[in-house]
Symmetry: D2
Subunit: 175 residues, 4 copies
Amino acid sequence: MAGSLNKVCLIGNLGQDPEIRRTQGGNAVANFSVATSESWRDRNTGEKKEKTDWHNVVVWNEGLAKVCEQYLRKGSKVYIEGKLQTRKWQDQGGADRYTTEVILQFDAKLIMLSGREDSAGDSRRDDRGSGRDEGQRRGGNTRGNDNSGGYGGGGSGGNFSRDLDDDIPFEMPWR
Amino acid sequence: MAGSLNKVCLIGNLGQDPEIRRTQGGNAVANFSVATSESWRDRNTGEKKEKTDWHNVVVWNEGLAKVCEQYLRKGSKVYIEGKLQTRKWQDQGGADRYTTEVILQFDAKLIMLSGREDSAGDSRRDDRGSGRDEGQRRGGNTRGNDNSGGYGGGGSGGNFSRDLDDDIPFEMPWR
Amino acid sequence: MAGSLNKVCLIGNLGQDPEIRRTQGGNAVANFSVATSESWRDRNTGEKKEKTDWHNVVVWNEGLAKVCEQYLRKGSKVYIEGKLQTRKWQDQGGADRYTTEVILQFDAKLIMLSGREDSAGDSRRDDRGSGRDEGQRRGGNTRGNDNSGGYGGGGSGGNFSRDLDDDIPFEMPWR
Amino acid sequence: MAGSLNKVCLIGNLGQDPEIRRTQGGNAVANFSVATSESWRDRNTGEKKEKTDWHNVVVWNEGLAKVCEQYLRKGSKVYIEGKLQTRKWQDQGGADRYTTEVILQFDAKLIMLSGREDSAGDSRRDDRGSGRDEGQRRGGNTRGNDNSGGYGGGGSGGNFSRDLDDDIPFEMPWR
DNA sequence: TTTT
DNA sequence: TTTT
């Protein structure tokens, strides 16, 4: 259907270190969950209440996935902009099951809101025992990338900046 | 967690007429699903592809639910702004299952994008055999509401307009 | 500053036909204004009030600008997603002046919400005397583009579809 | 016009401490500017470029304005969700001038993204000589508010939490 | 200047 | 299950 919009915006904290997988084509994909929560005061009892929601995030975007691998950790606060997608699968009994995820693929955005100290700028960070395959993580991250903070869903190459078109000035020549 | 954001924005079409339920407290709740889709051209074969996603929407907001009941129908195009929530339940075998929904409750927004002709301004619309309990729907909708189009998540009373505070001018007196 | 977000989302109607200009480099740029409005009931007098805001939109994106040229007209309803930008200029007296615009450039989105009948799918639409240079408009639009409705801020070539990467499956092979 | 959307979302840093004014009706209004920026690499020269945009924010919302007064300072990072509004005024020469601002009024949201240490939790913060009227600020802020972090555009009273309706359960009784 |  |  032409003319539709599917957008999810979250600000929350990672529940665990991102898990990085590779597709058969070799592309990096990152998985993690993000907690958001809301609090309110009960109208009747006056007591404070809080409810936390967990969101499964899947980063189907080579550049963004590498950023996740390198900079995000359990507890990191992020702004995430992606789309909602529900995927069907079969459980052991062969019954249909559905899982809804927030997909970062195209037009996606990820902004790191934690200070750099929360993230991992090098490979000597303390390992908090997440059980992740560290060998895999350490494989490809040695090249420096000083582009910290905000990432558009740029190209799939190593350059995460947005490569704005220089032919497009910020001033408008005819005015 | 203070300081989190949980927002979903959709523009899409309803897959069927909204279903209206009442809570035990008598509040209206509307349920419907919204389709969004994206299309692209396959890089290798050049053929056009399209993928549709379905989103379950639950309107936990008395005023907005009534608007849905009165104006939305199968095929209606809407802009929806709500939050993501996953709810746990048990299937017949007692196994945990999860369902993710887009909740319109507080700070929610619903804008009707179909022309009025697509919606139901009166009760004489053609029934497309949705199997819904028509008796319930026809119960409370006779009062006129000329507030068509956009609705903030206003009060739970019959007045859907936002009742802006008149003490707040649009000009700033000190400038 | 890494890690910032600048996003404007509007649903409104065009106040006039878009104006298309060309940069010296030959790129198309579209300008138009969009009206949004809100209505409320005065708390004291009970009378209905309405306030309309006008937003200047500048489409610095070859593909999107062509879509505007071809499909948008005075009165067209659109969803627009861009960024806020204030530009400095000098008035005749040499005094600094500032104009704030909604820029559609990268990561921008434009969804046509009016039916096709409101827009111009051919060149036989009635000309409402907008004074626009019709010669220019008619010049390059003859090639068919059946991609109606929603446009991401795709490439600057003639292909407005998003060219998703085929290496990226919608299923996740390891699960 | 029914059915319109006017939303601005920013993540950025305050350029100076917020200025708090009072309307003649006694309501607090906060003003500050927020910087967002984007960076990219020049296609031709390969050099890094950065552009910063400044946004004027006006908080026409008693509760939110007090939060700004109490917690935000020059440099604070915030997520802001408001609407775009252009206001007309006359310069000294009587010529019409326009200023565009991001208004936080209804449906507005402000999330503090800096750690608490950047903000002012008490009145003993260092004064960075902003020239603001300190007497006015110190006037009304002594009451404790432990509601740090995220604020919906709640009521105009002292309770900034959202007072969710207890009649609305998070589970759906009929399922 | 739009729209309902 | 929608829509183009």
